[in-house]
């Protein structure tokens, strides 16, 4: 059981933030170099740029959340009955 608790420290929030963060960087760069034809396709919105920025903001919030409320592993040992 002790093993399991340690392994449980794997935090899905970091994984999500990493994937969305990479997407955010890629899309933002695409958005910066976007051709006008692509912007016109999306009804005049540079959706790659705005979408990318949105994802970077999301990533920042998730990282902040992970920092402020890290997973508390040992404290809850007594809470899990069995």
């Amino acid at each position: 059981m002790a093993d399991k608790k340690k392994a449980g420290a794997f935090d899905i929030r970091i994984v999500i933030a990493a994937l969305v963060g990479i997407y955010g960087v890629v899309l933002t760069i695409l958005g910066i170099v976007e051709k006008q034809a692509e912007i016109d396709k999306a009804a005049g919105i540079n959706i790659n740029l705005w979408g990318g920025i949105g994802m970077l903001v999301f990533t920042a919030l998730f990282v902040l959340w992970t920092r402020l409320r890290p997973i508390a592993v040992p404290v809850e040992e007594d809470a899990t009955e069995q």
């Binding site: 399991k4 695409l30 508390a72």
Partner: protein
């Protein structure tokens, strides 16, 4: 379903493929990371009952956010408009809240490892066997349907041969589930949820901008063949199939809202399993309640794009006007992606769709292997082995289930109608299950015999109504037939169960503690205060009340 060499072929470039590939690297990485947490069968099948509520809550939603949900609901949006929201606000949220507030204490509190196991404890072997076998069969076949839909979409969008996509997708899902078990499935479902939102939200916003905002959409739909009633949720005549508005409202509230949705959300182990994986009673109860919040907003990124597609994509507008052309409503989302998204965002949108299809299949497989291992193999076939044996069995069963799903996908590619029927048939198991569960949880007199006879006769009733309506004996349009079928199954199940209970011997009270409301001490069905469960926003009943109030507000706004 879709033309093979199609006008839907998306113009995906290298950057789109990089975005798609990146996602799969993460999916497999999660499987690998989750593997380290698997040391017993309980870890594999129920994540060691250790996950926080927000994780299981999002997984609860994602497990249901598969191919049928995303493509089907945007198609309904294109065809019927705003009334499609009833599938979410009436057909899901109330049942999810009921599961969290009323039923979860018995599921989680009794420490059962699956829904069929609850059946076993409450009603004994015959009911358990009926439930376990029908559930396992349904899951593995539906996994095949999900797999086939995924392959069809990949074929249309990217031009890959169907069998290549079937095998690649099956191999990916298989590897992360056999590695990490339910944790891998659940963590991936959470990741999928965010990817799906990241894919569909920009599409919706660009679409809304294109039609001139909300008012522009209202004007365009009102001027289209759909007319202005497609922009208001009630009374939803076209959706329910009833001409009379009063009957339509009754049909939606009771048929969809009560019988169909309560049956699905409260007894389907694929959903309940996510809650059983959470770390304590409070988190288990909050799982479906937390899930209800994203659930009520999903229509905005699934249905609205469908509605937009029907007014701005010329091919679809033509189809809606006179039923001709190469496309149909199922293509709504794909057409909108094709017309609006530049490369980059397009890759992300394709990733979102693939993510959603794999989520559905992974959810089916991860609940299938649990029921197969715990409820069928351990209970009836190979008993009393050490735990490692069942852990290994779970992995082997997952492989076998995937192979069967590939076979099902192959059958589905030949007989698409057959698959439609099968899926409808399986949906009929839910209404009688709900009747049996709810009666069994609140009436201690209900006997074991009544449990399985009620279940069998209720299911038989649903199948009978289905056959009659297929043959035109009962003639009901739209969703009418399935409302009536589920309703009849529910009533027959209750009546037969009560009658049989009165002439058979009930179980002793001591055997029913934790399973029946009146025999379960209050402490056992409410959560013990645990460190980390403080704060008003962690109180299940209060959260459920907020969710219900929000849903009512949404209904009023879009009435």
């Amino acid at each position: 379903m879709l033309p093979q060499q199609s006008i839907l072929r998306l113009d995906a470039t290298a950057i789109d493929y990089i975005i798609i590939a990146l996602y799969f690297v993460f999916v497999l990485g999660i499987g690998y990371l989750a593997r380290r947490a698997v040391s017993s069968s309980l870890d594999f099948f129920l994540s060691g009952r250790s996950l926080p509520a927000w994780v299981t809550g999002l997984a609860f939603i994602s497990a249901n956010l598969g191919a049928i949900e995303i493509m089907g609901m945007s198609a309904n949006g294109a065809q019927y408009g705003i009334p499609t929201v009833h599938y979410f606000w009436i057909g899901a949220v109330p049942a999810m809240l009921f599961l969290g507030v009323v039923m979860m204490p018995f599921y989680y509190g009794s420490k059962v490892r699956s829904v069929p196991e609850f059946m076993l404890r409450r009603f004994g072997k015959p009911a358990h066997l009926v439930n376990a076998v029908s559930f396992a069969l349904a899951q593995v076949l539906i996994a095949g349907v999900n797999l086939f839909l995924l392959a069809t979409i990949v074929n249309v969008l990217l031009g890959w041969p169907i069998w290549v996509s079937v095998i690649v997708a099956a191999a990916i899902v298989l590897s992360y589930i056999t590695l990490g078990g339910l944790s891998a499935a659940i963590y991936n479902e959470v990741l999928q949820f965010f990817v799906i939102v990241a894919a569909l939200l920009p599409l919706t916003l660009v679409g809304l901008h294109k039609v001139g905002g909300w008012q522009g959409l209202v004007d365009k739909v009102s001027a289209s063949p759909g007319g202005s009633e497609q922009m208001s949720a009630w009374p939803g005549n076209a959706l329910s199939g009833f001409h009379n508005s009063f009957l339509s409202v009754i049909g939606i509230v009771f048929g969809l809202g009560f019988v169909l949705s309560f049956g699905y959300w409260t007894t389907n182990f694929t959903e309940v399993q996510r809650a059983l994986a959470s770390k304590n009673m409070s988190a288990a109860r909050r799982t479906p309640i937390i899930g209800s919040f994203p659930k009520m907003f999903i229509p905005f990124i699934v249905i609205i794009p469908g509605i937009i597609a029907a007014v701005i994509v010329p091919e679809l507008a033509q189809f809606k006007a006179n039923g001709t052309g190469e496309v149909d409503y199922n293509d709504a989302l794909l057409l909108l992606m094709r017309d609006l998204l530049p490369n980059g965002m397009l890759g992300l949108a394709i990733t979102g769709l693939l993510a959603s299809f794999m989520a559905g299949m992974a959810a089916n497989l991860s609940s299938f292997n649990t029921v197969m291992s715990y409820d069928i193999i351990e209970r009836y076939l190979i008993k009393d082995r050490p735990d490692e044996f069942y852990l290994r069995t779970g992995r082997i069963v997952t492989v076998a289930g995937t192979l069967v799903a590939i076979g099902t996908a192959a059958i589905a590619s030949g007989y698409s109608n057959l698959m439609d029927y099968l899926q409808q048939l399986f949906s009929f198991f839910n209404a009688p299950l709900f009747a049996t569960f709810i009666l069994g949880m609140f009436w201690k007199r209900m006997t074991a015999t009544a449990g399985w006879i009620g279940l069998v006769s209720g299911t038989a009733t649903a199948i009978l109504v289905f056959i009659l309506s297929e043959n035109g004996v009962i003639n009901l349009p739209g969703q009418g037939a399935s409302f009536v079928g589920a309703g009849a199954a529910f009533v027959v199940d209750i009546v037969i169960s009560v009658v049989v209970s009165l002439v058979t011997t009930p179980k002793r009270d001591t055997e029913l503690v934790g399973l029946v409301y009146s025999l379960t001490p209050k402490e056992q069905r409410t959560e013990v205060a645990v460190a980390g469960d403080g704060g008003w926003y962690r109180k299940p009943v209060l959260l459920a009340g907020i969710s219900l109030a929000l849903t009512i507000v949404l209904n009023i706004i879009f009435a």
